[in-house]
Amino acid sequence: AAGVIQSPRHLIKEKRETATLKCYPIPRHDTVYWYQQGPGQDPQFLISFYEKMQSDKGSIPDRFSAQQFSDYHSELNMSSLELGDSALYFCASSLRVGNSPLHFGNGTRLTVT
């Protein structure tokens, strides 16, 4: 079965640069979530989209933005990168109905130097 696909798998950027992370949800899933996970930390919710519209917003810095496109793929754009942005970034998708479980991608490991 198709899973959530994230790219790139690894990304190295310098301070103040920008980064774009991509996520391709499971087909027919209507909700996409972005999470940030620092080393040894729990995943922190950033933002979610339902049917291509922003649904909920968590602890997402103003330097970050995200959108979901007509083909349902989503992108997380990160600008003015800081050392503290180094983390694993996960995308997940689900069906909204019935509080369905989230299906996670394998994440993008972002390293800011």
Partner: protein
């Protein structure tokens, strides 16, 4: 505020032993979910227990839920080395409404062969 808090933070056991992880949460919920995460990988949904259920089984997993104490436990019986991973409980923010799934701090389980 963190929706779920796990204890212990770390647990080390021998193969064949049982592992019990506990989770507490703060707001009312519709359901509580448990996820597993291998190091550096995406989270994988294990089991969902609804607020009107007290216990649920899935293979070697047993989950209990006590809504009066706002707590849940995950028991893994007859553990295997392959069970080594971090385990997180998660609930939906906003009083159980579908929105963002909030994860607890997680328990890092190490099963020694």
């Amino acid at each position: 505020s963190q929706q779920g808090e796990e204890d212990p933070q770390a647990l080390s056991i021998q193969e064949g032993e049982n592992a019990t992880m506990n989770c507490s949460y703060k707001t009312s919920i519709n359901n509580l979910q448990w996820y597993r995460q291998n190091s550096g990988r995406g989270l994988v949904h294990l089991i969902l227990i609804r607020s009107n259920e007290r216990e649920k089984h899935s293979g070697r997993l047993r989950v209990t839920l006590d809504t009066s104490k706002k707590s849940s436990s995950l028991l893994i019986t007859a553990s295997r080395a392959a069970d080594t991973a971090s385990y997180f409980c998660a609930t939906y923010g906003g009083g159980g409404s579908q929105g963002n799934l909030i994860f607890g701090k997680g328990t890092k389980l190490s099963v020694k062969p």
